[in-house]
Symmetry: C2
Subunit: 230 residues, 2 copies
């Protein structure tokens, strides 16, 4: 008798996400939900992106972490519209937390809003926040089997980032296997191979500016446990 | 009115975990719940551990992943008692899944059982599986802020592993900061700095054989959201 409760929670979340999406549309802001495991480089990517695009676009950030305001502190040097959400033992952001954060941002002034989700490959996937696109992020340090082991993120992602390719010479990582797994799971999502630390993020900036200009909502396929397993 | 449901789930989990623990005690097997983010090196550590200790101790593994049986396939070369649990969109193992897996293992023959939890720094922390010790695993590729951002794992861990120290020359990682954060969060948990890929795992093997011989259950402090934040 617990499944109905979970369904209600998701239904409530989806309704708030719908309202968030309407507010984002009204404000003319494109919203990306960035999802990846702890340490794949999400905050560093946003630092680099703010440095590159901050003079061209008005950008805001909602940063989620279980504890500390370290991400917001790192990003505050590059943007004024930033809110840190501490989730405590919560493993993902939900639409209501995003709605609360929106109240502390001047979203009407923004062109682009990043939601940096809690570092977690699983739980954030199933929660609609009202974003236009969910973007999945991996790093070569994690090993090439992570897309296959965690297929739900690539399945719903509008694009997949593979970070830290500068370390390919120093870690065991089968790039062909990773590419093949992604193609099998979601052939439509482009794989953007980057090195944030070496400032090689052109594929990401190209994808982002194109997505932001198009302003289309990425329609992910239905979230189906059991699909895409090898 | 949703909190009582969550409490009931946890109460049921705790009761099954208690039964698991009694069964482990009766079988004379020491049980470690290994928790870390995707790609920190959990499976590689178990491979190396089975190679080193497999001739001395009878070792079993319960491996959790959202999808694929790749971990079990990797470990099957080193041990006979192995079960893979696919959690689908589940973000952690629970006591009932472990109980089901126990039915497929000859636990009476084992000295040591590893439960390799789903790659996730958050959700597995709050679920008792009946283990003697939870061990937390990080890697230098993830950045030095991860213990501070995810304090609940180090707070309950009997020991903390820091893997991939061979990469310290190639990635930005403030080792002093990481050590200081851990000391602040849980000064009692030893920090075991290792490189699985270079076979430098002596601190782990020493800790493990000592813990296994002592057979004491690690009594973690209460899980308290909000504590240990900087």
């Amino acid at each position: 008798m617990k499944i109905p409760v979970v369904e209600n929670v998701l239904k409530l979340n989806d309704e708030i996400a719908r309202q968030n999406r309407l507010a984002f549309e009204a404000a003319g802001v494109y919203v990306v939900d960035l999802i990846g495991a702890p340490g794949c480089g999400k905050t560093a990517l946003l630092e680099a992106t703010l440095q590159k695009l901050g003079g061209i676009l008005e950008i805001g950030v909602i940063a989620g972490d279980p504890a500390t305001s370290r991400d917001a502190e790192r990003l505050a040097g590059y943007c004024d519209n930033i809110v840190q959400i501490n989730t405590g033992n919560g493993c993902h952001l939900d639409a209501n937390q995003v709605r609360q954060a929106m109240g502390r941002l001047d979203i009407a002034s923004l062109d682009l809003l990043f939601i940096e989700n809690v570092g977690n490959l699983i739980c954030p996937v199933g929660f609609d926040l009202g974003q236009h696109s969910k973007v999945g992020m991996f790093s070569v340090c994690q090993g090439a089997d992570k897309a296959a082991k965690h297929p739900y993120l690539p399945l719903v992602a509008a694009a997949i980032l593979l970070n830290k390719i500068d370390l390919l010479a120093h870690v065991p990582f089968d790039l062909q296997q990773f590419r093949a797994d992604l193609k099998r799971i979601n052939a439509a999502a482009p794989l953007l191979e980057i090195s944030v630390i070496q400032n090689q993020i052109a594929p990401w900036l190209n994808w982002l500016t194109h997505a932001c200009t198009g302003r289309g909502e990425h329609r992910a396929p239905e979230y189906q446990p059991g699909v895409a397993e090898s």
